[in-house]
Amino acid sequence: MKMKLPLQHLCFFLMLAILVLLPFVNDSRTLMILLTQIFIFGILAMSYDILLGYTGIVSFGHAMFFGLGAYTTAVMLKQMEPTLSTFFLSIVVGMLLAGFISFLVGLLTLRLKSHFFAMLTLAFSGLFLVVAEKWRSVTYGNDGFTFRAPEIFRDRMTFYFFVLACLVVIFIALYRFVNSPTGRILIAVRENEQRTKSLGYNTLYYKVIASIVAGTVASLAGSLYAISLRFVNTSVMTMDITLDALLMTIIGGVGTLVGPLLGSAVIEYAQHALSGLARDYPIFERWIIFFGILYILAVIFFPKGIIGSLRMMFWKWRLKRKGINQSSVTLSQEKERFE
């Protein structure tokens, strides 16, 4: 792994340079919006992967944290002055709320089998969706409401750079997190929780930490999403958001940070393209079906995603070059990684 690092860093800076320079080359509105959207969902998918890919727990309530962030920002910007400081305050409030709720949910269910967490997060996010629909005096229900974004974000390009900066900061922070001692223990929990426990680690504590980190980062993504639309309604709380995060993580590659970003790019672009097609072929209005089928097929046949498969090919290639026929060993190791 050590040897690969410089190459990874090079790729990272190259990609960043392209993304920074891109608006000066082509600043078409559609492209800016699409890229901003990709970044925001990239943040969401990365936070999801902390749970699914690194800790090996399935949450079906990620939309609840996303929605929490979106509503906090929207409500605060509407009720108070739409200034930059309000915006930053709302991000902090949203993250604190999300952190608290993920702490609560995690504490209740992470002691038990993975099923319980999946189920309880699903139930909780269902509750949040209903609250968002019924608490009309604040959320305006399903109709939603528009609000004024801070002056500086009216410009698409400024907002693009702001979201890109957020993405880079979050990416580096999460990269540090998963490579920290805590992150290593999370991976150990994924690999074998019993053994980690018997080594003396309180696995519940680490799993709750993972759930809090994932929740707060998802809330940030929600805040950015609200600003990007300058409108919020109950759709930010629906299952579709969780499905998006799931799909991006699985298509891109679980257990990596680059995977979800790549997945976000693929899915967002596909949605963009499919909604274009829907004008001519009405069947594409139900694009969730295609994504659902794609997702089922990916889980069965392609469980490691794009990055995971590429990585496995790379390993095989390196082993072959060294003349060691260990591909079967690597394969079984890789297989265990996911299970």
Binding site: S114, K134, I293
Partner: protein, 290 residues
């Protein structure tokens, strides 16, 4: 008095519908260790298929049969295509059944149209009886009776027949059951089909009760089903009945007395159970450590 009786009947009727949904979930979980997130999809397919059969043939009974057959067929397809390839891998099972849930829900919109469908109660079940000053709505009583009959049949099957013995043995220790010569995979398939059929029946019975069916109702009721399974204890059949009645009654009383809390009451119930008795209120066996 009248109020009390009505609230109890409401609660029991809702509870019975949730029970039919949760019974399949809990049996499938107990036996196969699969938490079927697509159960709500089977529920809503049962409702739509049943109601469209009912409107086409104008016979409620044939509609019910249609719902059950649809549920069992979908269960067969689901088990063969979706569950078998990822057997034994919990994370993949959870992920894949959720994917199926969304596909089923969207397929409803493609096949039957995206809008809700209004449903009329069949004439012989519409209306109500007056006993003294208590008014009892016939259809709700009908649901309660059907629920108890199905509970009775299943309890008898599970406790007294050879089939039930095999299923119970599978729940207790599937490797051992397999070692004793039982084709456990086939038992899985049948139990899955029966669970799916129960979910479909629940959806069909729900339709005239709520008066309208729509694609998203699957997810809503599936969440209630999950709550019941958690409260009752995963894998416990009679536990799911008691928990479903509890959830139904809590819902109907709260909706009348403290409407603000009616949304949260089930969540609070579940949270309390998870804190104090995480294996479920009526769970018999201990949660295995795996």
């Amino acid at each position: 008095m009248e109020l009390l009786v009505n609230l109890v009947i409401n609660g029991l009727a809702t509870g019975m519908l949730i029970f039919l949904l949760a019974a399949g979930l809990t049996l499938i979980f107990g036996l196969m260790d699969v938490l079927n997130f697509a159960h709500g999809g089977l529920f809503v397919w049962g409702a739509y298929a049943g109601i469209f059969t009912y409107m086409f043939t104008e016979s409620f009974l044939i509609g019910i049969v249609g719902a059950i057959v649809t549920g069992a067929l979908l269960g067969l397809i689901t088990e063969k295509l979706i569950i078998t390839p990822v057997y034994g891998n919990h994370i993949q099972q959870i992920l894949i059944t959720l994917g199926l849930m969304l596909v089923l829900q969207e397929m409803i919109k493609v096949v039957f149209g995206p809008n809700g469908v209004a449903v009329k109660t069949p004439s012989y079940l519409a209306g109500s009886w007056e006993i003294g000053d208590v008014i009892i709505i016939k259809y709700r009583l009908f649901i309660i009776v059907v629920g108890f009959i199905i509970f009775g049949i299943f309890q008898y099957m599970l406790k007294k027949t050879k089939v039930g013995l095999v299923v119970r043995a599978g729940v207790q220790d599937k490797e051992m059951a397999q070692a004793l010569g039982i084709h456990i995979k086939r038992v899985f398939l049948y139990v899955f089909m029966v669970g799916a059929a129960l979910a479909a029946l629940s959806g069909m019975l729900m339709a005239p009760y709520s008066g309208v069916i729509y694609a998203e109702m699957g997810m809503e009721y599936a969440i209630l089903g999950f709550i019941v399974v958690v409260i009752g204890g995963m894998g416990s059949f009679s536990g799911s009945l008691l928990a479903a009645i509890l959830v139904g009654l809590a819902g109907s009383f709260m909706a009348y007395y403290v409407p603000v809390l009616s949304l949260a009451v089930n969540m609070i119930l579940m949270a309390i159970v998870l804190i104090f008795r995480p294996q479920g209120l009526f769970a018999m066996r201990k949660e295995r450590s795996t």
